[in-house]
C-alpha cells in the first residue's frame, strides 16, 4: 500500500471511530430520554452516526483488507482513534446535549471542508454527512437555548457540562503528521483553520444564553494516537461482547 493510501485509511478510520463511539453513547439514551419525542430524536441522530461510521469504516477496510465489523468489534481501546470527547460517559441530559452542540458546530465546519476533498470517497461521505449535520445542529442549538435559558437548574447543569467538556475541545483542532501529509495532497481538512469560526459560533450562542465560556487551561488530547480515557474500555466491553463471545457471528 502506498503511503498516501495508508494515510487515507488511517484518516477514514479516525472519522469512522468518532461516529461509531458517539453513536454508542447516544443510543444509551434510547428508552431513557426525558420525553418521548426526544427519545425518538436522539435515537434518530444516533442512527445517522452509525450510518456514517459504516461508510468511513467500510472505506478504511477496503484499503486495509478488513471488514467494517472487524474494525468495529475486534479492535481494543488503544487501537481506536476517536476524539476523547465522544467517549465520555453520557452524563445527564444537559451533558449529552452540550457535547452534541459543541460537536455539531465543529462537524458543520469540518464536513464542509471535507466535501472539497480530492479523495472522491471522502468527499462523497462528507456531502451526505453534512446534510445530516445541519439538522443535528438545528436541534442542538435549540436545546442549548432551552436549557441555558430555562430554569436555574437547567442553566447550572448546562454550565457544569460546558466546564467539564471544555478541556477536550483542543483536540478538535490538533493535527499530526498523517493529517499534515493529507492536507498537503488536498485530501484532509486543515483543522487548525476551523478554530476561529468555531469559537465565534460557540461564543455567540454562549453570550446570548448567559453561559460562560471556560478558560483554556486544560487541553486533554491523545485520542487520535490511541491514548484514551478509562471510559472507552468499558464502552467497548458492552459494544463488542457478542462478537468477542461468539467470534464470526453474523446477523
Amino acid at each position: 500500500m502506498t503511503e498516501a493510501n495508508s494515510d487515507i485509511a488511517e484518516y477514514s478510520l479516525r472519522l469512522g471511530d468518532d461516529a461509531l463511539i458517539l453513536a454508542q453513547r447516544l443510543c444509551e439514551w434510547c428508552a431513557d430520554a426525558p420525553l418521548l419525542e426526544e427519545d425518538i430524536a436522539i435515537a434518530n441522530v444516533g442512527l445517522d452516526y452509525i450510518g456514517r461510521a459504516r461508510m468511513f469504516l467500510q472505506y478504511a477496510g477496503e484499503l486495509t483488507g478488513s471488514s467494517e465489523d472487524e474494525l468495529a468489534y475486534l479492535r481494543d481501546s488503544a487501537e481506536f482513534r476517536n476524539l476523547l470527547m465522544v467517549e465520555l460517559p453520557r452524563g445527564d441530559f444537559a451533558f449529552s446535549m452540550v457535547r452534541q452542540y459543541l460537536l455539531d458546530e465543529y462537524e458543520s465546519l469540518f464536513f464542509a471542508g471535507l466535501k472539497q476533498s480530492k479523495d472522491a470517497n471522502l468527499a462523497g461521505i462528507a456531502e451526505k454527512t453534512l446534510k445530516e449535520v445541519h439538522y443535528h445542529l438545528r436541534r442542538s442549538r435549540e436545546w442549548m437555548r432551552r436549557l441555558a435559558l430555562g430554569t436555574e437548574e437547567s442553566h447550572r447543569r448546562s454550565q457544569d457540562a460546558i466546564d467539564e467538556l471544555w478541556g477536550y475541545v483542543a483536540e478538535f483542532f490538533e493535527s499530526d503528521e498523517v493529517e499534515e501529509r493529507l492536507v498537503g495532497l488536498g485530501i484532509a481538512v486543515e483543522r487548525r483553520d476551523l478554530e476561529q469560526a468555531w469559537r465565534a459560533s460557540v461564543g455567540e450562542l454562549a453570550a446570548k444564553t448567559g453561559l460562560m465560556v471556560p478558560d483554556d487551561d486544560l487541553r486533554q488530547t491523545g485520542g487520535r494516537s490511541g491514548v484514551h480515557t478509562e471510559h472507552l474500555g468499558h464502552l467497548l466491553a458492552e459494544m463488542q461482547f457478542v462478537q468477542r463471545s461468539y467470534p464470526g457471528l453474523k446477523w
Binding site: 425518538i40 430524536a41 442512527l47 445517522d48 461508510m55 456531502e127 446534510k131
Partner: protein
C-alpha cells in the same frame, strides 16, 4: 433522472425493479424515491446502482435483499449492487405522482405542509424527528389528527 431511465437499453430491468417498494412506505418504489439510480446488464450480470436516503437508514439492507430477490425471480441470478453517494439523495427527486400516493397513504409530502386527512394547512410540528429518519411528527389543528410528514431533505 427520468432521462436515465427512458434512454436506458434495459427498460425491462427498470420495470422489474418497480416491484421493489420501500419496506416502510409500500406505496413508493425505490425508483419513485430516487434510491434506484441506474441499472445495466453486462455479460449476464445485472449491475444496480442505489443511493441511501439517510446514511443510517436500516431499510437499505432490506431493499438490497429485495432487489436481489426480484431479479432472481425474473431469471437474473448474477446481481451486483453498488452504493453511490454522489449526488446526495434529496426529496426533490419525488415527483408529483409520488407525492400524491404518499398523501393518500397518510404521509404529507416534503415542502409546504397540508394535513393528509383534511387538507388543512393549519398544522403544528410536534417534533422534527419522527418514527423513521425521513419523517417528522406533525399535528393538524383543524381535525386534531397527528400525522407524519416526509422531511424536506
Amino acid at each position: 433522472m427520468n432521462q436515465r431511465r427512458s434512454a436506458s437499453r434495459c427498460a425491462e430491468l427498470f420495470d422489474i425493479l418497480d416491484e421493489v417498494k420501500d419496506p416502510e412506505i409500500p406505496v413508493l418504489s425505490i425508483w419513485d424515491l430516487g434510491i434506484l439510480q441506474d441499472v445495466d446488464l453486462e455479460n449476464e450480470t445485472v449491475r444496480v446502482v442505489i443511493t441511501p436516503t439517510y446514511s443510517g437508514c436500516p431499510a437499505m439492507q432490506q431493499i438490497t435483499q429485495d432487489i436481489e430477490a426480484a431479479l432472481r425471480e425474473a431469471g437474473f441470478t448474477s446481481v451486483e449492487i453498488k452504493q453511490q453517494l454522489i449526488p446526495a439523495w434529496t426529496t426533490d427527486w419525488l415527483d408529483a405522482d409520488a407525492r400524491k400516493r404518499l398523501r393518500e397513504f397518510g404521509i404529507a409530502g416534503p415542502g409546504k405542509t397540508a394535513c393528509p386527512q383534511c387538507g388543512s394547512t393549519d398544522v403544528t410540528q410536534i417534533s422534527e424527528f419522527g418514527s423513521t429518519s425521513c419523517k417528522s411528527l406533525m399535528r393538524c389543528n383543524a381535525c386534531q389528527e397527528p400525522f407524519d410528514q416526509f422531511k424536506r431533505f
